[in-house]
């Protein structure tokens, strides 16, 4: 396929006329062809109108038909993999094996939602049968199901050009719910976006669905992105990116005449609590594992371990020294964009200037462009608590070791944390009491608690929560990864005393879709 530089508006390729942008190979700072035409607000209105037109047809498809469509989208994306992977590598400087892995994750994610739909979906059907003989008043038949909320705007992430972007988790879960999707393309990987968008758009057509089910727009965030969130036809927003970007969209959404929910996954420094017995086992090995997690994908993961709490003990000294040595031995990898590299450099410089914060170690810059040295900082428990700046994410391979005096101190540190996607506890059996003291504090602060791993690597399953209290996300009641993510794009509707012929299949007598349903408060399996 030849890249065209065009947006896709309900199946129609459109070369935007509000300026152009080229992708940049961050490893060389060279522009990549073709130029991408940026659309204006009129294109947003066209895409939104098409999505609104498509909505009723799409949301009323059977789960099986939506599953087939998701599978087809996955197949179409896989089919362009040999063109997609090298383009994504060129646009992001991520290693080819990493991009291949992310591609598999992306299409498996679409297929997981397809399987979920075939297995009964998440219609959450509830039936309270009539009780004609109830006193003092009879009860009429009431049935509830979840319906799609409406057209959804999706803002892809720079750091996962496939799995959290054009056909990533937000798009997959919104489509699974029956919501048309309009993707605002990330300017860092337009070629990858175009290839994936065409694959999804072809799947819409292959499945015989209305073309407005999917659009992808190249355009400026402050104009096109904001216009998309402000458009009255858009009913929800999925976003992965910076805190400033996410909060700007939250503000726009809240100020609409009809406010809408924004699901923004924004910033997290993913604290790791290294407990004494776990540390004692092998501090050197633990330090090596930590630095490997820290430097994965140049530290550009939402769940990068940006904060370690380590005992102020001789074992802790051994760990800190070993981690510092490992960082000194690490070479910088090319970051996703020159802008991200500049932000890393400025965040790192800011940390270096903070009183009470020590630069424990620095690695080596890489040979390619935009490959700054990893860095490790250290500070005390007191300084950490007194310095709110230390809770702001420095996106990249930088981390901070905070030394704690005892478990009470560790618990106090946990209580001082802002909302996070994850918290990790490095644990051995003798750490039970300490972990038990930390757990209730961390539950209130994070979306996922993990033991004896590293936070990087987010499993796409049914039990995953990739979310958490603000500022990790804009809405802690949801997740942006895993099948629960579909709930972001649904809302409940009750049907009271509706004739059988007019009831939706999800709540019809006879259970034609073979769903698990809650009858009078108790789940009944098909």
């Amino acid at each position: 396929m030849t890249l065209t530089g065009k947006s896709l508006i309900a199946g129609h390729p459109v070369f935007g006329t509000a300026g152009t942008v080229n992708a940049v190979n961050p490893a060389t700072d060279e522009q990549l062809e073709p130029r991408y035409g940026l659309v204006d607000e009129a294109a947003v209105a066209d895409a939104a109108a098409a999505a609104a037109d498509a909505f009723d047809t799409f949301r009323q498809t059977t789960p099986g038909r939506r599953a087939d469509f998701l599978d087809r989208a996955a197949d179409n994306i896989d089919a362009v993999g040999d063109e997609l992977v090298p383009r994504t590598v060129a646009e992001t400087a991520l290693p080819e094996a990493v991009v291949r892995g992310e591609l598999a994750r992306t299409t498996n994610q679409l297929r997981l939602f397809a399987t979920m739909l075939r297995d009964g979906g998440d219609f959450a059907a509830r039936i309270d049968p009539a009780k004609p003989d109830r006193t003092p008043a009879p009860r009429v038949d009431i049935r509830q199901r979840q319906i799609a909320i409406g057209p959804v705007a999706v803002f892809g992430a720079s750091n996962f050009p496939l799995a959290f972007s054009t056909a990533g988790g937000d798009t997959a879960s919104a489509l699974a719910a029956g919501c048309p999707v309009i993707v605002k393309a990330h300017s860092a990987h337009p070629g990858s976006t175009e290839l994936v968008a065409r694959a999804v758009s072809d799947a819409v057509s292959d499945a015989g669905l209305p073309a407005g089910v999917f659009s992808a727009l190249f355009g400026s965030g402050p104009t096109v992105g904001q216009a998309l969130v402000a458009d009255p036809r858009i009913q929800a927003v999925g976003f992965t990116g910076s805190r400033s970007g996410g909060t700007a969209l939250m503000k726009t959404a809240a100020e609409r005449p009809c406010p809408i929910p924004v699901h923004a996954e924004m910033s997290s420094i993913n604290p790791v609590f290294v407990l004494p017995a776990a540390l004692a086992a092998d501090p050197d090995a633990l330090a090596a594992e930590f630095v490997a997690s820290l430097t994965t994908r140049a530290g550009q993961l939402c769940t990068n371990p940006g904060l370690l709490f380590v005992p102020a003990t001789p074992d802790g000294d051994v760990f800190a020294d070993a981690a510092a040595n490992a960082v000194r031995g690490a070479t910088g990898q090319t970051m996703l964009t020159p802008g991200i590299q500049r932000a890393y450099a400025s965040g790192k410089a800011e940390l270096e200037g903070l009183s009470g914060v020590d630069l424990l170690a620095e690695g080596t810059e890489g040979d390619a462009a935009n490959s700054p040295a990893p860095a490790l900082f250290g500070t005390t428990s007191e300084t950490f608590r007194a310095t709110p700046r230390l809770q702001e994410e420095v996106f990249g391979a930088a981390s901070l070791i905070v030394r704690y005096a005892d478990i009470d101190d560790a618990v106090a540190l946990a209580k001082s944390l802002q909302g996070q996607l994850t918290a990790t506890i490095r644990f051995a059996d003798d750490d039970h009491d300490a972990a038990a003291a930390l757990m209730p504090v961390l539950e209130r602060t994070v979306g996922r608690i993990l033991f004896n791993g590293w936070p990087t690597g987010v499993e796409v399953g049914h039990a995953m929560v990739h979310g958490g209290p603000f500022p990790a996300t804009s809405d802690s009641r949801t997740t942006s990864v895993g099948t629960l993510a579909i709930r972001r794009f649904q809302r409940p509707v009750s049907y009271q005393n509706v004739p059988e012929a007019l009831l939706p299949d999800a709540v019809k007598p006879g259970n034609p879709w073979k769903l698990p349903r809650t009858v009078d408060g108790r789940i009944e399996l098909p």
Copy 2:
């Protein structure tokens, strides 16, 4: 019990010193004793601190213990019924039988949540077991449950002094979820509030729970109410009231350093579509039923039928004439407060002044104070679509009949509607095609679709949705009535590779709480 005029802050009675307010008997305009002391922001901070202190203990109680507490609260409220009912009647002018019914509904609602907790609650436990042999990478064990979101601020409604107030649906569902509650008392029924608040607070103490689990504050909305929503310890808000009140709280919540969800149930005019065959059967009887629903509780119900779509046919003329006659024969009942009566009068006057809107009929004022005449207006389909003011709620016994030309016109009218709590279809078998055309439009617009009843009367069950798109509520993804309401006050947490001894009971191996749980995406019953 003697009324004291005191707020209850974590079990401590406090007479606020920021002014006083008395209840007013709206039937006589006379003040009722005692004076209620209004608290200031310091009391908000005290209650919030106590709630935050109580949160961890309360949220970690077993479902059985929370169920016992809710039952106890219900019993305590029932125990003061003979004092509560006459006080509520005096404060609201609602008939005694109505208040007795509402009291039963309120305590039954608490007991329904208790039953739900004993039956397995809504922990939504999900387990993705480890797959150590999976390639290319093994999967670790991941488990998910819902936890309480944090202390909740509840703003009670004027129109349901018991069922949507101090221990109403918001409070019941928040407590069931494990969230401490701080009630901002409605100034229209302080005596009822005090009696119910003492009953709930006593239940907290009877159940051996920390006193901060429940507080009730008398204070001004603009200061105390806003301070409560702005307090960093409050994590969610439940509100029932006016659109202006709800949107003011939404704004405050969105502008916090850490924004929080607001569940505001605000305004709805509850369209009723009278279809031709249903109308033909007995237009006179239908009109009588309509006016009975319209004038129930002086029209002061969130689901009052404020808008009827009736065919522009001879049958429709018969219906409109009969409804007008019934309204002419209706006598005004005392409204809840003098202020609500004034708002009704001004809303009615505004409708009278609108071009193209006719006053079809007016009833008689009641003998008591604040009992304005019911009113019925009429207009055309064209005028309705051209006059946005006609979609604003006039709280009270006023309704508008819009005459539609044919089913296409009815569908176009449905498409022009703002978000609503309910839509009603008056239906006979020959109306199938018309109803089928309306259903998908109404699904997108309302929370509950009902056939051949009237929207007044909201069943408290598992399948009820009392919610809907803005401006009916601030968040269409939820309900404020029924067991699904608990989800407003929960958020998911994942536990990855957590040792069994540290796992919460809801997701422990062996399923000690006997919950339905989703294992690898499929529900397993205990």
